[in-house]
């Protein structure tokens, strides 16, 4: 590998300690603020005010909620597997914290009061992004174990759904990053930020960014992909049986994952800590502690996007969701990888003029667009179901309503007579009829 990681791994132990605590504090603080912001923004989107009593603008609301949770009874269901039930939230939150270790918050700075220089980043590895994906996968263990160890049907189903969802979207996410690595030539996060010195990858790899954006929402179990917590179907999903601080840990883990994914998207596509365009004309924008501000600004932008999605879109159906992941995102990212690498090889070899590549790209894009407008063939099952199916009002021993395509049976004479004259129970049905009759008369 050609990247320069010599500035990493040389910090003394006290500096590591400070950085670790700062990152820990940053993540917890961002989580508290994100929850507050989410409730405030969602409130505004729904013409409410949102939390406002605890602290100025309700800023301390999530802290108060955390303390309240700590004072609640810690219920361990009698059917639960005690050890795994205890360890699952710990795994989730540990993995969530650890992923942030390689996110670059800023460039190398001079440390005040000493003659040291240190990067504003806990550490970096030559396999940085791979490390993030690996630890994020460990977080799935927390979900599966929590679902299984609860000894409850809802939790088990929620855990299975959630893990299937996370691993499905991890593939799309992993594939969408390949194009970034092709352009950056490295897996280290600081190297990727340095590679975006000229132009951010969002501009040259926009399809990758879109795929990453979709899979990032799917990967963090957030609306509109929050199927694991579909209240109408699965109550709380894998954390149905969790209460008190154990539940708070899952909550914390989810929000830290959101922050980490936003930070990863910033690092990979939005130039990391680099100042955005109008600010980058100022000389000092990319030195000192300023880059941290740009970085946090971009992360907050992504967090707002998450919240915006939640306030706007209804939850998806599970089969549609899996279909999107497996049948759309994966083939799309594979095709995009092949296209990107073909274009790059051609450019490196210098064989063909760039203009031809652009023309070919436009033609392919138009063809794909045209394909998208071809209506899908009618479902063969739909046509077959038009003839009326005999209806058994007591199928399986219970009274059941007629399903679509089934004809309701002839009513018994007494009921039919009551319906015709307008019995006491069907005023609503009788009303318009009676009115019509009067009008006609």
């Amino acid at each position: 590998m050609n990247e320069d990681l010599s500035v990493f791994g040389v910090d003394p132990w006290w500096l590591i300690g400070i950085k670790t605590v700062v990152i820990f504090g940053l993540l917890v603080l961002t989580t508290l603020m994100t929850i507050w912001g989410e409730r405030k923004i969602l409130g505004r989107m729904q013409h409410r005010i949102g939390p406002k009593y605890h602290g100025p603008f309700g800023l301390l609301q999530s802290l108060a909620d955390g303390i309240k949770l700590a004072l609640k009874e810690d219920v361990v269901p009698s059917a639960a597997d005690k050890v795994l039930f205890f360890i699952a939230p710990v795994i989730t939150v540990t993995a969530a914290f650890a992923t942030f270790a390689v996110i670059p918050l800023g460039p190398v700075i001079d440390l005040p009061f000493t003659d040291r220089v240190t990067p504003l980043q806990l550490t970096d590895l030559s396999v940085g992004v791979l490390y993030i994906l690996a630890i994020a996968s460990v977080g799935v263990y927390g979900i599966v174990l929590a679902g299984w160890a609860s000894g409850s049907t809802y939790a088990l189903l929620g855990g299975l759904r959630s893990s299937a969802q996370v691993i499905s979207y991890e593939i799309a996410m992993g594939l969408s990053l390949v194009a970034v690595f092709i352009y950056a030539g490295t897996l280290s996060t600081s190297g990727i930020v340095a590679a975006q010195d000229d132009v951010w990858f969002i501009f040259i790899l926009a399809p990758s960014f879109v795929i990453f954006l979709v899979s990032m929402v799917g990967d963090t179990n957030r609306a509109p992909f929050d199927l694991a917590e579909a209240e109408g179907e699965l109550v709380g999903g894998f954390h149905t049986e969790y209460s008190s601080l154990k539940f708070a840990l899952f909550f914390l883990g989810e929000y830290i994952n959101m922050v980490t994914m936003s930070a990863l998207a910033t690092t990979l596509f939005l130039g990391g800590w680099a100042a955005p365009w109008p600010l980058s004309m100022w000389e000092g924008a990319n030195s000192g502690l300023w880059p941290m501000l740009w970085f946090l600004g971009k992360v907050v932008g992504f967090l707002f996007f998450f919240i915006w999605l939640r306030g706007t879109l209804p939850r998806m159906r599970y089969d549609q969701f899996m279909k999107l992941g497996w049948k759309v995102l994966i083939p799309l990212s594979l095709a995009w990888i092949v296209a990107v690498s073909a274009v790059r090889v051609v450019r490196l070899q210098g064989g063909i003029d760039l203009r031809w590549i652009i023309i070919a790209g436009v033609v392919i894009a138009l063809a794909v667009l045209a394909l998208a407008f071809i209506p899908e063939g009618a479902d063969p099952q739909e046509g077959a179901e038009t003839e009326p199916v005999p209806f058994d009002a007591f199928a399986g021993g219970y009274p059941v309503p007629p399903m679509p395509g089934q004809q309701s049976p002839d009513l018994p004479p007494m009921v039919a007579a009551a319906a015709a004259t307008g019995g006491p129970n069907d005023r609503q049905d009788a009303g318009p009829d009676a009115g019509q009759g009067a009008h006609r008369a």
């Binding site: 670790t20 710990v90 806990l122 809802y154 088990l156």
Partner: protein, 119 residues
């Protein structure tokens, strides 16, 4: 100090925080015994008895896990290729397209056999 030491520090801090919270929640909250509360939550009705050995779940999830492994390995092979892309040139591209199309054939097979259908 090597590059992995800070990761261990953050892991330890996160783990310690999680463990502390899990243990402390057993002391801070009230403890009032109630048999119904310790049952599994099923919207207020008597919980379904859990079958011995955890019961069954749809095989779809198993297929998803298997497919995940296949594609995850593909990703793991693609990453080193992507990093070394510039030095591999045309040879690398041809090799990679052959590799992707091999996995893609398996993908099409699974699709056609209905392995990606959820209903």
């Amino acid at each position: 100090m090597n590059e992995y030491t800070p990761i261990l520090a953050l892991l330890a801090l996160g783990f310690g925080f999680g463990l502390f919270s899990v243990i402390i929640s057993g002391f801070t909250g009230p403890k009032r015994y109630n048999r119904a509360r310790l049952d599994a939550y099923e919207c207020g009705i008597e919980p379904t008895p859990q079958p011995v050995g955890g019961g069954r779940f749809p095989v779809k999830y198993f297929i998803t896990a298997m497919l995940f492994i296949v594609f995850d390995i593909e990703i793991i092979f693609l990453y080193p290729y992507a990093v070394a892309f510039d030095s591999l040139g045309l040879f690398g591209l041809v090799e990679m397209v052959l590799f992707i199309s091999t996995v893609f054939i398996a993908y099409i097979y699974v699709w056609r056999r209905g392995g990606l259908e959820w209903d």
